[in-house]
């Protein structure tokens, strides 16, 4: 009985932890921005205020069933991803799914968003989502190569296994620096931060996919963002920084990992779509391929 209960508890706790940590990451994102922009920034509970407020809106405009399903997919995809990401003391089903499943699950939110936004019939949203899919294509190539490289290096597709290996030997970042660098690039794209922010682009297409989202749908996106930041941070930590043996180390690592793209985001503008694709397919892919060559 204990294993099942434990597993269920873990499956419940892991997304919850992800959400809490994600909220802190959102706060960190905004605080980093504020600091670089020479200002104070939001109060500590701001991410919670925002989400509660959005869910508490009286009017909730939906654009049909597909719209709703799209959003559920977006949030659900990440929630599902959380249980594949091991945290100290909890592995969830990470050892069962492995990194390949995770990669697929992580595509679900983007597709879900595309589905939902397509229903809004807002040209800005459509442009945004078309850019988002292109962006996904752009960062997924290096990402997949990195994942394969890492998997090849560790001879395992299980994140749990990789973490154990790293904790026993050496962090992945030291063994595969090129792949780690490529991974950082892909991470920047995955988090949708400048210079790879083209699909949000408030100045051009009014936040693109989010343009018709409101109330709890917007709240859903905010929740999704918390999961997204968390997922990116944990994944990278697990692949290259040896996960965490305890919570303090783990949290420190993921926050540091997430802080890097966040800081970079505030001092760069965004690339155009084609530039982004070109850059993404050039440097990270090249680095990753060379990295693989070393690994193999």
């Amino acid at each position: 009985m204990s294993t099942i209960t434990e597993l269920l508890t873990e499956l419940f706790l892991m997304p919850l932890i992800a959400f809490m940590v994600g909220l802190a990451m959102v706060l960190m994102l905004r605080k980093i921005g504020a600091r670089l922009q020479r200002r104070v920034g939001p109060p500590l509970l701001q991410p919670i205020f925002d989400i509660v407020k959005l869910y508490g809106k009286d009017t909730q405009v939906s654009h049909g069933l597909i719209h709703d399903i799209g959003l559920v997919m977006a949030v659900g995809g990440y929630v599902a991803a959380e249980i594949f990401l091991p945290v100290p003391g909890m592995d969830g089903i990470a050892d069962k799914g492995g990194i390949i499943t995770l990669s697929y699950v992580m595509m679900v939110p983007s597709l879900g968003l595309a589905l939902g936004v397509g229903q809004c019939a807002n040209p800005n949203g459509s442009i945004g989502i078309s850019r988002a899919l292109t962006a996904m294509l752009a960062y997924d190539i290096p990402f997949i190569i990195v994942v394969f490289g890492v998997a090849a290096h560790y001879q395992s597709t299980s994140l749990v296994g990789m973490i154990e290996y790293q904790q026993a030997h050496q962090w992945g970042i030291f063994e595969m620096p090129l792949l780690a660098a490529a991974g950082l690039f892909a991470l920047q794209g995955m988090m949708g931060k400048q210079p790879f922010e083209i699909y949000v682009a408030p100045a051009e297409i009014a936040t693109g996919p989010m343009v018709e989202m409101s109330g709890k749908y917007m709240g859903g996106l905010f929740v999704m963002q918390t999961f997204q930041l968390y997922t990116a941070g944990v994944l990278y930590t697990s692949l290259f920084l040896g996960g965490g043996s305890n919570w303090f180390e783990f949290l420190l690592k993921i926050f540091v990992v997430v802080a890097i793209p966040m800081s970079v985001a505030f001092v760069f503008p965004r690339y155009r779509t084609e530039d982004m694709v070109r850059i993404m397919w050039k440097w990270p892919v090249m680095a990753a391929l060379i990295g693989i060559a070393f690994v193999l």
Binding site: A34, Q46, D58, T59, I127, T207, M210
Partner: protein, 233 residues
Amino acid sequence: MSKIGNIPVNAQAGKKRTNPLAGVFDELVQFCQSRSMFMLHYCTGCGAIELPPAMTSRFDMERLGIQPMVTPRQADILLVTGYVSVKTLKRVILTYEQMQSPKYVIGICSCTVNGGMYWQSYATAKVLNEYLPVDVYIAGCMPRPEAVIEGMRRLMRNIEEGKGHAWKDYFQRYDYYLGNQQHLFGDDWQTPTDIIGEARHYGLETEQTYGEHTRILEQHQQPLEPHKMRIKF
């Protein structure tokens, strides 16, 4: 899910609340609403020039949880920053109607109160609260960022105390507002949002929701057909 006009809507409003914790929950929501205000990024008039300072490093509105949003759907506050020309007023009304309740209007500058320095102008609307219910006014021509922030804080206090309900007035006295709008824009004025339907939906309709002006509207109203659109990827 129900429909208002042809826009489907999910809403809990109007439902009977039986939960004993509903009061606490409402207060929590109000508290969060007052501390998280998304502001619509719409520069209607010259007062908009003092918003960038108020938003950016020097006066940093984000300290109060206020941040700019780019679409009306996501916004809670509509800042009418100064005079609204008749042409803009139409868009302001459309924008306002697209915003999601609870929503708040802040009238900045003299011009929103009594025409301001453009009182002789044939092109600007004079008294904003004839066309939209206004929650808070901020005096100045234009008000300094500090004054804007003070206005925001007043709105925050109002929301926290549960006083900011001007948006309900728009549903409750729709006929009055519609009448003024028709007087300015002509009888064939209509917006894509079905306000009466929404009022009914929220249970906010009163006798003053209907009147001669809504009857005129019914005569002219055409259903809004969403246009098919394709985008080449």
